[in-house]
Amino acid sequence: MSTKLKNRPLDGVRVLDFTWSVAGPTMTRYLASLGAEIIKVEWPMHPDPMRSAMYLRDESDKTLNNGSFFANLNIGKRSLSLNARDPHGLDVIRELVAKCDVVAESFSPGVLEKWGMGFEAMQAINPGIVYVSISGFGHTGPHRNKGTWGPTAQAMGGTTFMSGMPGNQPAGWGWSYLDVSSGYFGAIGVLSALFDRKRTGKGVRLDLSQVEVGVSLLGPGMLEHAVTGRSFVGQQAVPGGNRSLDNGGATVGYRGDSAAPHGVYRTAGEGANAYCAISVLDDAQWQRLKEAMGQPAWAADAALDTVGGRVARQDELDAHLAQWAATQDKYALMQQLQAHGVAASAVQSPHDLVEHDPQLRARGLHVPLEHPRLGKQLFESVPFRMEKTELALEPHWPLLGQDTDYVLREVLGYSEAQIESLAAAHITWPEGLPVEPKVERSLW
């Protein structure tokens, strides 16, 4: 490692990482941030598709090593290039299982079993092994061989349905929430298992399904159906938009609050994100909102002083608030409302997060680091701080096959002759493939 960070909880933990795309690599990125050594295994003929997903603007020389999205997602990991479909390659994998604490994969169900590397087989090699898989539907059950990507898992598991404006189709999510959150739950599972193992000595099998992650994150709406039988069928979407309660006072937001007015209001300024979100969480905030607005006549009605009164007249209040907000800058409005103790925030775009947000800047969330192929770029840091544990991102990336030698020599103790014989048989690098394989077309 290029730097030695202090007190990292997973120092000494090694992960054999067969995951690809976004969910699995999100999981192992967090494990890397917490100190684990991640050995990302790929065969360059079938590399992780995210290597060629997104490049720097105007990149003319696209390779498998300079994808910028990939670099952000896989920072801090090592790369082992190996043909696991070759019997000798599989021998290497088997030896690595003995030297690792965690095996992670996001293949279709049954791939490891086909390799003769099911959980029982791995336990026979290493009784303490933690085996985590992340797949669409899980490795059991009638849907197990069906495929999903983030947006399909979101459709299947209900999170798409539970987002939308009244009378319109479901709005869904603007990214693969379930890739990211499955990665988080995978990391939580692995951390739990590693904590448990210190006491029991036993490993565990974790079989995560992206769709089930969605079901679990549906939250109170799913629980309402399961417990009370309330049916959602026949509605095009939860008819709530950004509201907490509908005009009749029924819960539509499942946001843990009973706020009104509650919404997103267009502000002055250009673009799709000139909006401010405002939540009037209780009657005291309503009084303070009136102060902030300079006690307009339309808000003076005492019937509006209780949440019930405001909920019933949300449409009217929203129209007035929209008119008031329309002439103000979104950040100025946010500050003014916050100065009065009213919950409000500018709707921030990714551009705003990086360039305009003083809070994230103060927290140092986006860190400039020097990537060997991309130069100095911003990388997304860890969203929490630990007083004792250094969580700085380690500035190294899994350039394809870069750590093959390290893994064979240092982790497995192979001799020079063994390493050369694997190379000569093209088990550690495909015959004739250049060191920096070119990419014709990127995904985005």
Binding site: P9, L10, L34, S68, F69, N72, G141, G147, W149, T152, A155, G157, T159, M162, S163, G164, Q169, G174, S176, S181, F185, G186, I188, L191, S192, L206, L218, G219, P220, G221, A226, R230, V233, T251, Y254, R255, G256, A259, V264, R266, A272, A277, I278, S279, L281, Q338, A343, S345, V347, S349, P350, V354, Q359, A362, S381, P383, M386, E387, T389, W444
Partner: protein, 408 residues
């Protein structure tokens, strides 16, 4: 079940939870993982107990499903933290614990005489994790917040909504309390990491979780598109916000249900299977033309191909579309509501995605979604606590401890 034996990784870990809202979901994760999580509530009960919907319909602090979701498997003690005696009880509880979960505003616990530095000075193994809207410091640290406000500040709202014409052009916030979910997941990672670190060092630490930062790093491509390409993404219905307009993926089926037909990764073999399927029903239109067979011939005509898919969906019900598309290895799925998820035997029977939790007081059973990493293992969820349900037992336990200490 994959592993019929218990997996209760946090058994023996005690957590004291202060506050409601943002911190509660992290507490639920800890509790379902086997930790003993004691929620300290004000004498009138946690605020979220008053949020509907309610079991039985009528407002009842013991029947709030929003409270149930975030607080199942926990214990409850009612303490008035403005009363010195109750603060002493809280301090004694913390002395018996491994973790303090602080969901109050920055500095609030300190003002009550329960600041993390003092708690940890008295108890060196203690981990204190504070979950706040914006983190402990910085210009917005003391701003007040809500789920919607968090989603706006963290960038999530800006990427969620409709294509032009599909609905209003405003950002649309997903429901369900996702700010607490996202912050809860990142906090859980940090707490577990600290628990592992304590196993080695014997010393706890303070963890400062920002919900805003947690959301801001959870948006997948949004920030990379700006950081690496200086391009702003635009909202798209039910698929990735992208820097350019793109064809729809969500189509309406003959039965009125929506269906997500993901058009990425349709390789030549899958495309051939799709055309054969559509053609067998006379609905392939011009896709049978050989010029579509290779990816190179399709890439620039995806807009048209997706329109044909949309017209095909309109003539079939969603269940048929799901079965037949997946049989051709197309990763497509219906836009399900909670009803359809619970009715699907893959979840309700084969995977045991839901746990039936009995209320010991009434014998009633309630069905909770299990945490994803506990599926395949024995159920761990228990009923959410009634207000102060465990207060008497915990007070008795603390008195017993005191007596033992005096005797020593």
């Amino acid at each position: 079940m994959v592993n019929p034996e218990n997996f209760r990784p946090l058994q023996g870990v005690r957590v004291i939870e202060f506050g409601d809202g943002l911190g509660s979901y992290a507490g639920r994760l800890l509790a379902d993982s086997g930790a003993e999580v004691i929620k300290v509530e004000p004498p009138q009960g946690a605020a979220s107990r008053s949020a509907g919907p309610f079991v039985g319909g009528a407002a009842d602090p013991e029947q709030s499903l929003q409270f149930w979701h975030a607080n199942a498997s926990k214990q409850s003690i009612a303490l008035d933290l403005h009363d010195p005696q109750d603060v002493a009880t809280a301090r004694a509880l913390v002395a018996s614990a491994d973790v303090v979960l602080d969901g109050l505003a920055p500095g609030a616990l300190q003002a009550l005489g329960l600041g993390q530095a003092a708690l940890r000075a008295a108890h060196s193994k203690l981990i204190v994790c504070a979950i706040t809207p914006f983190g402990q410091d910085g210009p917005w640290a003391n701003y007040t917040s809500s789920d919607l406000v968090q989603l706006a500040a963290g960038g999530l709202l800006s990427v969620c909504g409709y294509d032009g014409g599909d609905g209003p052009d405003t950002p649309v916030a997903p429901t369900g309390g996702q700010a607490a979910h996202i912050a809860g997941m990142t906090a859980m990672m940090a707490i577990l990491a600290a628990l592992i670190e304590v196993q080695a060092s014997g010393e706890g630490q303070f963890i400062d979780v920002s919900a805003q930062a947690s959301i801001a790093v959870s948006l997948e491509m949004g920030v990379p598109f700006w950081a690496y390409q200086q391009r702003e993404v635009i909202r798209h219905t039910a698929r990735h916000a992208m820097p350019a307009e793109s064809p729809r993926w969500q189509h309406r089926c003959a039965d009125g249900k929506y269906f997500l037909a993901l058009p990425l990764y349709i390789d030549d073999a899958r495309f051939a299977a799709l055309v054969e399927w559509f053609d067998a029903e006379g609905l392939a239109e011009d896709l049978t033309d050989p010029s579509y067979q290779l990816m190179s011939g399709r890439a620039h005509r995806m807009g048209h191909i997706i329109e044909v898919i949309g017209r095909f969906c309109a003539k079939h019900d969603a269940a048929t579309m799901f079965r037949e598309s997946q049989a051709r290895r197309l990763p497509w799925a219906p836009v399900n509501s909670p009803d359809e998820i619970l009715a699907d035997p893959h979840f309700s029977e084969a995977r045991h995605t839901f746990a039936d939790v009995a209320d010991p007081a009434t014998g009633q059973q309630y069905r909770f979604a299990k945490l994803p990493y506990l599926i395949g293992h024995a159920d761990t969820t228990t009923m959410p606590p009634r207000l102060d349900q465990h207060g008497a037992r915990l007070r008795g336990e603390l008195q017993q401890n005191q007596k033992v200490q005096h005797a020593q």
